[in-house]
């Protein structure tokens, strides 16, 4: 699972108010190279929740993203490459996603988060 996907996933337990972002527990991270697409990144920049992305990437062991970011940074090639790497090339392969409110863990195996709920959570 890439951090692009993490940036939209939310805890889906019934009755939970604080759903996003899911915390990440890392067992294994893998990196896969992806072609650099500058227009895509500029478009996505306005849609991602920056704080969640920066924090998630740090949890995954990548510490290059700044705490905050604004659109003027998109002129920097260096910044774009870091954004690209964090958003698309880091994969949580094994670990868990954790509901920020309840602490309920959603396991991630072979890169696939299991977001299925128990009967009493629906």
């Amino acid at each position: 699972m890439r951090l692009l996907t993490h940036n939209m996933l939310s805890s889906n337990i019934k009755g939970v108010a604080n759903r996003f972002p899911l915390k990440i527990e890392v067992v294994k991270v893998v990196e896969k190279e992806v072609d650099f697409n500058i227009d895509f990144l500029k478009n996505m920049f306005h849609k991602v929740e920056w704080k969640a992305l920066a924090e998630a990437s740090r949890t995954m062991g990548y510490t290059e993203l700044p705490e905050t970011a604004d659109a003027t940074m998109l002129d920097s090639d260096d910044f774009l490459h870091k954004f690209h790497h964090a958003l698309l090339e880091l994969h949580l392969e094994e670990g868990a996603l954790v509901c920020p409110e309840t602490g309920r863990k959603f396991p991630v195996n072979k890169g696939i988060p299991n977001m299925l709920l128990h009967e009493d959570e629906v």
Partner: protein
Amino acid sequence: MKLKQLESLLGSLEQFSTPKIELEQYPTGAHIASRMLYTAENSFEDVNSKVVADFGCGCGTLGLAAGLLGAESVIGLDIDAESLEIAYANANELELDMDFIQCDIKNLKWRGQIVETVVMNPPFGTRRKGADMDFLSSAMKVASQAVYSLHKTTTREHVKRAALRDYNARSAEVICELRYDVPQLYKFHKKKEVDIAVDLWRFVPQRKQERSL
């Protein structure tokens, strides 16, 4: 990529080994899948460089078709772990990176407008009434640009009304009518193969500022 080439690549994908009737698992044929995504890209520019989600992805055919046509990121969602394993293997076979999530589409919670296009071949709602509409409802909340979906032609009026009235569609158009070959997968199928008339729909959601499910 040419349509023929797309269809041939999709035709090589592995399909369900033991399909589950309660989930209405029917493989999406290469013929339909290739035309669906080819149209989405070439007539509407809804695929290339986009973030695409495949709802109820099964073995991943539609999502992988999107990947082959240049989607920047593809996410496949399915409730069934076995399907996701096959889809994962299919993605590797085509050397495409696709994210997968195991979840029940009707309980989905996503924030923001990251996903531009949703493609899906939802359950027809024959075994569990309303399953098709649950998918459509979720898809319309997630997609910021377009939803492509297959529904039985017999439900056309119902789908149109629900999309416009209940699911905030700005437009709901049948792009074409297709024949869906349902092979004899299950014991209750009496005929060897049945043709079902299905509509390929394109729904456009209303523009919204910030949405969450």
